[in-house]
């Protein structure tokens, strides 16, 4: 155990003292977050929120309520429609929430107080700012309406807002991109691991270690441990920068997200090991690693929503493992719409991990 830790620390020192490695590992992804964040956070009319409005009552009372929302016109834009249509619009990201005026509102106004009438609002908790605005407006209108009815001598009919969760795709571009950039960083972390490995073999370091009692599995384990530590650091850094600079909200299942971080790091590290098995010189390795990572980066649909891609690009992206890491991370971190079910994402990454490791185990040369 002492040996394993010592070796990992030695490798970690080697990494942190190498400016080029530091750049690619930490600075490059952060630069991506900042660049994309600045590019996209200004886009769109963020000052107004479009909300679906469904009037099931269609009475004079409900018309009054509709009119009361005019107070919030500077921040809320209402889009009228049927319940199904508006819920679908929310899932597509066309509206940020849906407000439903229940049937029976007109009758309630004159009747004796019974149980309060529920005014359902569909919200996406991952959109906390939007949710707050919508809930605030609805509570304001509902409260105002109840007061007005009571003061006019009618029975104090209470209507209360009843929030329901509904996932929306209307997540900001930055929120979509941060898990994608994390996926990119994890991919690079793994694939780039081929370079120091080939370098250590070419320089005879691996052979020299072979002449000591150090077991080979410890050499492999320390390499994996090192990359997982860096993966964790990268995750914290990228998400931290995203949260601090662009207020992205991480709302998903953190345990699941952490699982995808390590599974993804592992799968691409296995790919890196496999590349190192077939490459002989350090120059070769630096070249091939770029040839592998560039198409992964740009064809995997991590920088633009999968649904926006043309058909042929989508078919390519479906073949690339980075597509599934990006998808898994986005689903588990920010509830983004799925490319594939989470289980399939995990299974494909796991498959890459196993196959690449098996090939490496067969083909890796220590000198």
């Amino acid at each position: 155990m002492k040996t394993l830790l010592g070796l990992t620390v030695a490798n970690l020192k080697g990494l942190t003292r190498d400016r080029a490695a530091l750049f690619w590992t930490f600075f490059f992804p952060v630069m991506f977050v900042l660049l994309f964040g600045v590019l996209f956070s200004g886009s769109g009319d963020s000052s107004k929120i479009t909300v679906g409005y469904v009037d099931l009552d269609q009475s004079a009372a409900s018309a009054q309520v509709r009119a009361d929302f005019a107070l919030y016109a500077p921040i809320l834009v209402l889009q009228d429609g049927s319940l199904d249509a508006e819920k679908a619009a929310m899932q597509n990201g066309d509206v940020s929430a849906v407000i439903v005026i229940p049937a029976g509102l007109g009758n309630v106004a004159g009747s004796t107080p019974g149980r309060p009438l529920a005014m359902t609002i569909y919200i996406d908790p991952s959109q906390s700012q939007t949710t707050q605005v919508v809930q605030g407006a609805v509570n304001g209108v509902a409260g105002g309406y109840s007061m007005a009815v009571a003061t006019n001598g009618g029975a104090p009919a209470l209507i209360v807002a009843q929030p329901q969760q509904l996932s929306s795709t209307n997540i900001s571009t930055v929120t979509y991109l941060v898990p994608s950039i994390l996926a990119m960083a994890l991919m690079q972390l793994g694939v780039f691991a081929a370079v120091p490995l080939v370098q250590q073999r070419e320089k005879g370091i691996l052979k020299r270690m072979g002449a000591t009692p150090l077991e080979r599995w410890k050499l492999v384990a320390s390499n994996i441990l090192l990359r997982l530590i860096v993966a964790a650091a990268d995750t914290v850094l990228i998400i931290g920068v995203g949260m601090a600079a662009f207020h992205i909200q991480i709302v998903g299942n953190l345990v699941l997200a952490a699982g995808f971080v390590f599974l993804g790091a592992g799968a691409f590290l296995a790919l890196g090991f496999m590349l190192a098995s077939f490459l002989k010189t350090e120059e070769q390795a630096t070249g091939v690693v770029q040839v592998v990572q560039m198409p992964l980066m740009f064809l995997s649909g991590i920088f633009f929503p999968f649904n926006f891609m043309p058909d042929f690009m989508r078919s390519i992206a479906r073949l690339l493992p980075l597509t599934y890491l990006g998808d898994g991370l986005r689903q588990s971190m920010v509830n983004a719409p799925q490319v594939a079910p989470l289980a399939l994402d995990a299974a494909i990454l796991g498959g890459w991990l196993v196959v690449c490791l098996a090939i490496s185990a067969r083909s890796f040369r220590w000198e």
Binding site: K2, G6, Q200, A211, T212, P213
Partner: protein
């Protein structure tokens, strides 16, 4: 030199092929405890393959190879605890310091020498905090020796320890190896420098094309092939060579680059006859001297080619 007990290395009919190339083709030798044993030969002779089999880095095709009486194929772990290894032209983690590297390698062994003590032993005190990539060639080689000694080994393998070093750095490495022997360690080294083998080794094996051609102490190797000693002096112009060959005791004579070389079975007779001839022909034999034949002469005689070509 005291030699006692079991030999530390025992190799019997070792063979190792790479495809069609017979890198080692039936090699047999022993190294005694406390001995400095040298393998001398040109590049590609099979020295490195032999030493790497002994270090447990390669498995032999056939033959038996024992270190400390243990089969290297069956007990690589316990052998590696007790040997020190310096490989040919290995660089180390470039961005670790001398101290960190010695600490790291020490952690691979059950027992290890204190880092400070090793750094002092190889005289790297001033570079203890330097990255290995910033060391000079001689310093890197000394670090490499320090790493080979990190477990206080009983047997040290040095594969071409001074190749590429300047004469001063080579001298300082020789002193290190002599120090090892004084501490009772056994050393096996390979080299293609004759003077290095002659300076350091108790016994030498001359290797070429995967075979050991001759083995013994340096005087033995020379004595076996060269009974004559060489009488040499500067001459200009050239002397008649048939007259030189007829001088008393001379078996062979050559004149090159202004120097005359007479191999002689009877040096006093040769010198007497030479001085008489000088009188007669009226020339001065400047810088007259006598020397033994060298390992270079032996190698030339064995293989028909010079060692470094």
């Amino acid at each position: 030199m005291t030699q006692s007990g079991e030999p530390v290395i025992r190799v019997n009919d070792l063979k190792k092929h790479y495809g069609d190339v017979k890198a080692v083709d039936g090699v047999t030798f022993e190294v005694a405890r406390g001995e400095v044993f040298g393998m001398l030969g040109p590049n590609g002779a099979g020295k490195t393959t032999t030493i790497e089999v002994l270090e447990g880095l390669r498995s032999p095709d056939s033959g038996t190879v024992e270190v400390f009486g243990l089969d290297v194929c069956k007990h690589p772990g316990s052998i590696k605890q007790r040997i020190g290894v310096q490989l040919q032209s290995v660089s180390l983690y470039p961005r670790l310091t001398v101290t960190e590297l010695i600490d790291l390698f020490g952690s691979f062994f059950d027992h290890h020498v204190p880092t400070k003590q090793l750094i002092d032993a190889v005289d790297l005190g001033e570079r203890a905090k330097a990255y290995s990539m910033n060391l000079s060639g001689g310093q890197q080689q000394r670090l490499s020796i320090a790493l080979a000694l990190v477990n206080d080994p009983d047997l040290v393998f040095l594969d071409e320890p001074t190749t590429g070093l300047d004469p001063q750095a080579r001298r300082s490495l020789w002193d290190l190896v002599k120090g090892l022997q004084e501490k009772g360690k056994s050393v096996m080294l390979t080299t293609h420098y004759m003077e290095e083998a002659a300076e350091l080794c108790d016994r030498v094996a001359i290797m070429d094309h995967g075979r050991i051609l001759e083995m013994g102490t340096v005087p033995e190797l020379i004595g076996r092939r060269f009974k004559e000693r060489a009488v040499f002096f500067d001459t200009s112009p050239k002397l008649p060579s048939e007259k030189l060959a007829q001088l008393g005791g001379v078996t062979r004579a050559s004149q090159e680059d202004g120097q005359t070389l007479l191999y002689s079975k009877d040096v006093p007779a040769t010198i007497g006859a030479l001085l008489a001839m000088a009188d007669e022909l009226d020339f001065q034999p400047h810088n007259l001297g006598i020397r033994q034949a060298t390992l270079e002469d032996v190698f030339l005689d064995l293989t028909g080619r010079a060692l470094r070509d």
